[in-house]
């Protein structure tokens, strides 16, 4: 799914990722690590928002820079700050915006929007002002804007940071559900990380471990505890 060979990334003057070599094939993958270790940068790299400064990167077999348009169609990114992602004044309009690029006939579009809203339990909120929602509802709305495009891969950066236990589980369940998409989720919530099949541990811009999530998370939890 994601293949990196010696990938590096710079932000400004800083080399934020160095020599990242990975071959990730699990359907659901957690990305964990300390603050500032480069997790978000890796997520943005995979979603094609950051250009590698070196090395070779393939996501779903595509080169994120060369096949940018195709990548956008297949990969959806959900950021941790839901306010930054909400563009339109009402819930349904905002979800519909994700489909704009596809130029669908109105009724097809409306049907897909309604289906996506229904799936995440937002059906009743369709006409509500989007910025009046609670933190959890906004996060669900952002996810909805991602899922409505039927992506092959969902990349989510700390999607549960603001959420109460119920909403966090709701969001995690939807992310992890096997409805035809793969998942790369950046998280500090080690319980969520364990629910993924694979995991990658970053430390100071390098890959410190990768493999089955239980092993990687155990290793990290142990390192943190001592």
């Amino acid at each position: 799914m994601i293949r990196c060979a010696g990938v590096g990334a710079r932000l400004g003057q800083r080399e934020v990722l160095r020599g990242v070599t990975l071959d990730l094939d699990a359907r659901t993958i957690a990305v964990i690590g300390d603050n500032g270790s480069g997790k978000s940068t890796f997520a943005r790299l995979v979603a094609g928002l950051v250009r590698p400064s070196s090395g070779d990167l393939r996501v779903l077999g595509l080169d994120p820079q060369r096949d940018a348009a195709e990548l956008r169609r297949r990969v959806a990114l959900v950021l941790s700050n839901p306010d930054a992602q909400i563009v339109m004044p009402t819930v349904a309009d905002d979800v519909a915006l994700s489909l704009r690029a596809e130029r669908l006939p109105r009724e097809v579009r409306d049907r897909r929007v309604a289906a996506a809203l229904g799936r995440l339990g937002l059906g009743e909120l369709a006409d509500r002002p989007s910025h009046d929602l609670s933190g959890g509802q906004k996060q669900l709305l952002a996810l909805c804007g991602a899922f409505v495009r039927a992506p092959h891969l969902v990349v989510a950066d700390e999607p549960t940071a603001y959420l109460d236990a119920r909403n966090a589980r709701l969001v995690a369940d939807h992310l992890l559900a096997d409805t035809g998409h793969a998942l790369l989720v950046v998280t500090h919530d080690l319980a969520l990380a364990r629910r993924c099949e694979g995991a990658v541990l970053f430390a100071e811009g390098r890959v410190a471990a990768s493999g089955a999530s239980d092993e990687v998370v155990d290793a990290y939890a142990e390192a943190v505890a001592c």
């Binding site: 004044p89 009402t90 006409d127 509500r128 002002p129 989007s130 910025h131 009046d132």
Partner: protein, 201 residues
């Protein structure tokens, strides 16, 4: 004008920063560089959201930062040169513009509606700024007033676009995030308070 509390203080400072960020290269893709700048959009939003006096104060804070030499104006410019050059009048006009916009947008303590907001952007965001900008530019460059006014037509398409964006954003904010204005509006003609309308919506 009520006296500023800590949140007002924060909002005044944050809007000054917002205007600065709109001048950073790549912050948002907009036409050209200096002196056609997205910063006037920030001025329009400051006047409309903060109101006339806090809006003007916020613009003043930004211009003071520019004056001490911080590169907070479009194209990474700053320093007292800004107030000696041909664009000095426009920069000072931003303060007046914010006042005019705030006064019109919130006229009579009523909630902002599209036509009044659009009028505010045209009168304050364009009219007031040009009213100071063109004479000063003419004085500095020694190009007579009428000709200077003609040359400043190059700004008009961009400014109309920014006025349209500002109108859209402000009227959407009224519906989508009314608490962003931090004020309560007088009951509209229907006799219902806006906030109720917003909650029901």
């Amino acid at each position: 004008m009520r006296t500023a509390d800590a949140t007002d203080l924060a909002r005044i400072a944050v809007f000054a920063a917002l205007i600065a960020v709109l001048g950073l290269p790549g912050s948002f893709p907009v036409f050209g560089g200096v002196p056609i700048t997205a910063q006037t959009l920030g001025v329009m939003l400051a006047g409309a959201v903060l109101g006339p006096w806090f809006g003007a104060l916020s613009v003043t804070v930004l211009l003071a930062l520019a004056a001490v030499g911080l590169p907070v104006l479009a194209g990474g410019r700053g320093g007292i040169g800004v107030f000696l050059g041909p664009t000095a009048g426009y920069a000072l006009g931003w303060i007046l513009g914010a006042v005019v916009i705030g006064l019109i947008v919130h006229a009579g303590g009523r909630r902002p509606v599209v036509w009044r907001t659009a009028l505010a952007m045209l009168a304050g965001g364009i009219g007031a700024i040009y009213a100071l900008g063109i004479p000063v530019q003419s004085l500095v460059t020694r190009l007579p007033l009428a000709e200077t006014a003609l040359t400043s037509l190059v700004f008009v398409p961009g400014d109309l676009l920014k006025a349209a964006v500002a109108t859209l954003v402000v009227t959407t904010l009224v519906r989508a995030y009314p608490r962003g204005f931090r004020r309560e509006w007088r009951a509209p003609a229907t006799g219902r308070r806006l906030a109720e309308v917003a909650v029901d919506a």
